[in-house]
């Protein structure tokens, strides 16, 4: 069966896929040779010589295999090719994992360092909001977009070192994923493109204000839920920043060892901890999300550092 081929641009890569990627708006780029080709076909049950293997994945230099029970199996090779074997999932289900964990493994194969972070553009460079699942990085991103900052990435931010050794954030794609309570708390007016998946109160929120090219990283904020008190932002020591960037905020850190990408990861983290202000944001984990109070504090901190929105807009709604 031949399928319609979709074309996307994500993390600066031209992607061609027979399966729609739900978060990634279709690209209007000309039909030239893609950087990444996604195909549908049989995926071997295991890698011939996995260097690391846990849970639902296996990795080896240049090869990565992910099994999502009831959805699909994925094989990523050479940072260029992704093979998808449907295993009961619909296109939307297959696409969600494709555009998330699978694409992250592909980026890692290409030497891009993946952080669990959202990222915005400020007048003086990119700012990362690092957080684990549930720490609030997507809702903070959305609040900052409403305040006039352009989005670079949600959930996974790819970082590379430029020729001068400075950390540079890649532009991912113009869509955030927001839970219903965050949409409510933000008063998000822009139309969503429906649920990320059936059965989840999590929505695709396209973002118009988007920076489409890479940008030098200016600062990183680590979102740290704390048991009480107010919102506090304090500088993190270089040592603590290094440790946390290397472990807690690395996206799928465990994929890396098998892929042989630990040295790349280490160099990028060392450069970030050395060159950038890394700040710890303590915030109470309470619902409703206090998202606007958090965004106020972040903006105040950015202003102190001379990092306002590049083109401040009237407060808009997405």
């Amino acid at each position: 069966m031949s399928r319609l081929l979709h074309r996307y641009t994500a993390y600066g890569l031209r992607v061609q896929s027979p399966i729609a990627l739900p978060f990634v708006p279709a690209s209007s780029a000309p039909d030239d040779e893609p950087d990444v080709t996604i195909r549908v076909g049989a995926v071997p049950p295991a890698l011939p010589a996995p260097a690391d293997k846990r849970g639902h994945w296996e990795s080896a230099p240049g090869a990565f295999l992910l099994n999502v029970d009831g959805v699909a199996r994925y094989l990523v090779t050479a940072g260029r090719d992704i093979l998808v074997e449907p295993r009961g999932g619909g296109d939307r289900d297959m696409g969600v994992f494709l555009a998330g964990s699978v694409l992250a493994a592909l980026l890692q194969q290409r030497g891009v360092v993946t952080f669990h972070a959202s990222a915005i553009e400020t007048g003086s460079g990119a700012v990362l909001f690092l957080g684990r699942s549930g720490d609030g990085k997507s809702s903070l991103l959305a609040a900052m977009v409403q305040r006039g900052y352009a989005m670079l990435a949600d959930d996974v931010t790819g970082v590379v070192l430029d020729s001068g050794g400075h950390p540079t954030a890649l532009s991912a794609f113009p869509c955030a994923r927001l839970w219903a309570d965050a949409l409510d708390a933000l008063g998000w007016q822009a139309p969503t493109r429906g649920r990320v998946r059936e059965g989840l109160e999590k929505y695709l929120a396209p973002v118009e204000r988007f920076r489409a090219t890479p940008l030098a990283v200016r600062a990183a904020y680590m979102l740290t839920p704390s048991p009480g008190g107010g919102i506090e932002i304090e500088p993190c020591t270089r040592h603590a920043a290094f440790e946390l960037l290397l472990s807690r905020y690395a996206y799928r850190r465990r994929y890396l060892s098998g892929l042989g990408q630990h040295p790349t990861h280490f160099r990028a983290v060392a450069a970030m901890a050395k060159q950038l202000p890394v700040l710890r944001v303590k915030r109470p984990v309470v619902h409703p999300l206090q998202i606007n109070a958090l965004a106020d504090e972040i903006e105040r901190s950015l202003r102190e550092r001379g990092a306002e929105a590049a083109s401040p807009a009237a407060v808009a709604s997405g």
Binding site: R54, G55, H56, W57, L66, V68, D69, G70, V96, F97, G100, S101, R132, S133, G134, D135, R177, W179, A180, D181, A182, D184, V196, R197, G199, L200, E201, K202, P225, S226, P227, G228, G229, R248, R252, R253, R254, Y255, P284, V285, V286, H287, L289
Partner: protein
Amino acid sequence: MSIVWLASYPKSGNTWLRTVLTNYLPEAGGPASINALIGWSTASFRYTFDEFLGLPSSDMTPEEILRCRPLLHEALAEAMPPPAFVKVHEACVRAPGGAALFPKSATAGVVYLVRNPLDVAVSYAHHDQRTIDRIVTHMNDPAANLVGKCPRGITNWLPAPMLTWSGHASSWLDQGELPVHVTRYEDMLANPRAAFGAIVRFAGLDWDAARLGEAIGHAAFPRLRAQEEEFGFHEKQPTAPSFFRAGVAGSWRTALRPRQVRALVDAHGPVMERFGYLREAETFLAGEGAAGA
């Protein structure tokens, strides 16, 4: 390495037990910080799931997450250095697909803590800053879930099926696969040396009576509360005024209304009887009836 699950319904002495165990370890060297306790609930944490399994829990349905948890627990058992204690508030259920949520292959044993549900209700309401009526409804709800407070959003925690209070206890105690050592909270209070000593032996830690005495002393309730007042406790619910509240048995007598006692007794009578909680509750209700309440 296999895991010793520290399993309990919430507010049943799990943190107290973890404090004793942390202080009992030879490397403790003096009163351990309540903010660095062993046996943290890492198996229920999204980050652990995402990083170990390589899957994005925030894009998965509760059923899909639960289906993957047995494998997560096996991966954790393989990765954790000894002593591998993990606190869980989940019930011991089967995952969709039929696999045991807590596989035998990942399990060294289960320490199950049980507390009078009437006291649990009082403590739980304080902990979650919810009314006792809502907590009673929660304790009687077979579909209860630890993240039930957040159906339209996300927290750091995975969805966790809890069953009812008595369903929770029965799920762990009657599963027949995993070795279980059950301890009543009231016995931990009445005779801590005997209660914690038996747990230490069950868990296979080397036995040292003097060290256990010191550990129990370091974990004495006023000391935990003093630590919380001075340093805070990062496992506390953000909305709760404090985690270490009273540390006593029987506060339900003044905190619960007869109809709330009745609702819990009606739902959990057989399991309450099994642990010696029923008679006191029925005497109380009979007295209330006589008083015309």
